[in-house]
C-alpha cells in the first residue's frame, strides 16, 4: 500500500491503545457480566488487525514475532488443560472453582479458575482470527 495514510496511522496509534484497554476490560469483566475470553480475544484481534492494516504486514511482523497458528493451539491446550484439572480432583470435566483472597491494594478479591480457561479461549480466538486475516492477505 503506497498511498498516503498519515491520518490512518495517527488514528491507529491512539485507537489501538483504546481498543486493547477496552478488550482487557471486556476480558476481566466476563466472569459475572457480559464479556469474557471470546469477545475479549476478538477485540484484541481487531486491534492487531488494525495495526497490520495501517502499518503494513512486514513492519508489524518485525515487532510482533509470533506464530499465530501456534498461539491458537496453545490457547486450546490451556483451555483443555483447565478442563482436565477438575478431572484430577474427581470432579466432572470443565468443573470450575473460585475463592476469595485478601490481596494488597485490591483488598478482598474473588479469584476464579475460570480466568485461566478464559485466557486459553482468548489466545485461541486471537490466534485464529489474526491467522485468518493474514492468510487472506497473503493470497493474490
Amino acid at each position: 500500500m503506497k498511498s498516503n495514510n498519515v491520518i490512518l496511522r495517527s488514528v491507529a496509534r491512539v485507537a489501538v491503545v483504546i481498543i486493547l484497554t477496552f478488550s482487557f476490560y471486556l476480558f476481566m469483566n466476563g466472569h459475572h457480566n457480559p464479556g469474557g475470553g471470546f469477545i475479549g480475544g476478538l477485540s484484541t484481534a481487531a486491534a492487531i488487525v488494525l495495526m497490520y492494516i495501517s502499518f503494513g504486514i512486514e513492519k508489524v511482523s518485525e515487532n510482533i514475532r509470533m506464530d499465530f497458528r501456534k498461539l491458537a493451539a496453545i490457547g486450546v491446550l490451556i483451555a483443555i488443560g483447565t478442563g482436565t484439572a477438575g478431572v484430577l480432583f474427581g470432579k466432572p470435566f470443565l468443573t470450575q472453582t473460585f475463592g476469595h483472597f485478601d490481596l494488597p491494594i485490591f483488598g478482598d478479591t474473588e479469584l476464579a479458575s475460570a480466568i485461566i480457561f478464559d485466557t486459553g479461549v482468548a489466545l485461541a480466538v486471537i490466534g485464529t482470527a489474526v491467522n485468518i486475516i493474514l492468510s487472506i492477505s497473503e493470497d493474490r
Binding site: R69, K70, A72, A73, I74, V76, L77, I80, G83, T84, G86, V87, K91, P92, F93, L94, T95, Q96
Partner: protein, 493 residues
Amino acid sequence: MSMNNLLITPVVIPLFTGMVLILFQRNIRLQRVLSLVALLVTSVISVLLMNQIRSGGIQTLQLGGWEAPFGISFVGDMFSAMLLLATSVVSICCLLYAFPSIGRKQEKLYFYPLFLFLVTGVNGSFLTGDLFNLYVFFEVFLVASYVLITMGGDKRQLGESLKYIFTNIISSAFFLMGIAYLYSITGTLNLAHLSIRIAEVGQDGLITTVAFLFLIVFALKAGLLLYYWLPGSYSVPPTAIAAIFAALLTKVGIYAIFRMFTLIFYHEPQITHLLIGILAAITMVLGGLGAIGYWDLRKILTFNVVISVGFIMAGLVSLTPEGITGSIYYLVHDMLIKALVFLVGGTIIHITGTSNLKEISGLIRHHPRLGWMFFIAALSMVGIPPLSGFLGKVFITQGSFEAGYYWLGGIGLLASLFILYSMIKIFMNAFWGETTLSVEEEKGTTKGLLLPIALLTIASLTLGIGAEGIADYVSQAAEELLNPNLYIHAVFD
C-alpha cells in the same frame, strides 16, 4: 448423580493431540507416532466404555457439574460406544494407509492435526446429549473435512470441494434454523429433556414439520436421497482421506437420524418413518443404478456408499427390535467395509494410474493378496454368511417384513443384487482377465499399503465370524434405542 469422566476422553484426546501436533509441525515422525498413539488410546477407551455400559447401563457426564438440562450433558449408550470403537478402528487403518501414501507436503500442511480434529468431531457427535453441541461437533468435523478434501489441490478437486462446502454450509444453516424452531417450541435443547417435553405436549403438526427439517439436514449429511454431492466429492481426495470420509462422515448423519427419530420424534412413525422409508427405497434404487451404470472405479464405490445408507435406514423404518438390531450390525459392518473397499480401490488406482475399469485388467497375477481381500470385502457387502454383512441383512429384512414394509424389504434385497453386480464387475474387470501391466510398468508400489487393508479385512472377518460374541451388546444397543426412557433416566437420575 452418576458421573463418568471417561465419556469426554474420546473428544479430548484427539483434540489435545491435534493441538500439540500444530506446535511440532515440522517433526513428521513425532506427528505420526502421536496420532497413532492417540487413536489407539481412544479405541481402548471405547472398549472400556462398552463394558461399563454393558454392566452399568447408559453412562452420563454433566460437564462442569451443571445438572441437566441446564448444563451440557454427555451421554454414552451402547449404540454410541459401538460406533466409537468402529470409528477408532477405521481411523487407525486410514492413518496407517496415509503414512506411506499421503506425501511429505501434506504431512507438513497439518494433515495429522486435521485428521485428529475430524475424529474429534465424529466422536463428539456420537457422545453429546445436547442438540446445540451436536451442531458444534458437526461443524468441527466438517471444517476439518473442508480442508482435508482440498488436500493436493488439483482443479477438479477444488471444483468438487466447492460443491461439498456449499452443500454443507446450506445444510448447517437449516440445522441452526431447526434448532431455533425446536427451542422456541419446547424451551430446551437437551436431547433427553426434548424427549420428555415432546412426549408431554404431543408431537403435533408443527413439531412433525420441524422433524422434517431435521430430516432434510441429516439426509444431506448422510446422503439419504440428497446424495447428489457425494459421488463427486468422495472421488477426488487422496485415498486415505476418501476412505475415512466414506467410512465415517455419512455415518454421522445416519447416527443423527437414528438418535432424533428414536429419542425425540418417534410419536408419528406412520408419517415420519414412512417418509424415511420412501427416501430409503429411492436411495437404494438410484444408488444401485449408479453403481451398475458407471465404469469408473471410484464412482462405483461411492454409489455403493449411497446404497448402504438407504439399506441401514430401512431398519429404522421398521422400529422393531430386529430391524434396529440389523441396522446396528450393518452400520458397524459398513464403516469397516467402506474404508476397506475405498482403500483397495485407491490402491488399484495407485498401481495402474487410472480409475477406468476398461483400462484395468488381470491385477490378480501380481497382486493376489489385494485381489482376494477385495473379493472377501465384496462378498461381505453382498451379505454372504458368515461374513460381517450377513447378520445385518437378515435382521433388517426380517424387521421390514415383520413391520409390514414388504416393498422396503424387497427393495433392500434387490439392492443386494445391485451391490453384487457392481462389486463383481470391479473384481472381474480389474483382477481377472489378461495381465496387461508387468511389474515394471506399474505406476506405483503397494509397499506399506497392504497392512491397513489386511487389518480391516481381519476386523471385518472378526465381526462376521464373532457376531455371536457381540450379540448381547448389539441387542442392548437396540433395546436402548427403542426405549427412550432408559436414555432419559440416565440423564436425569
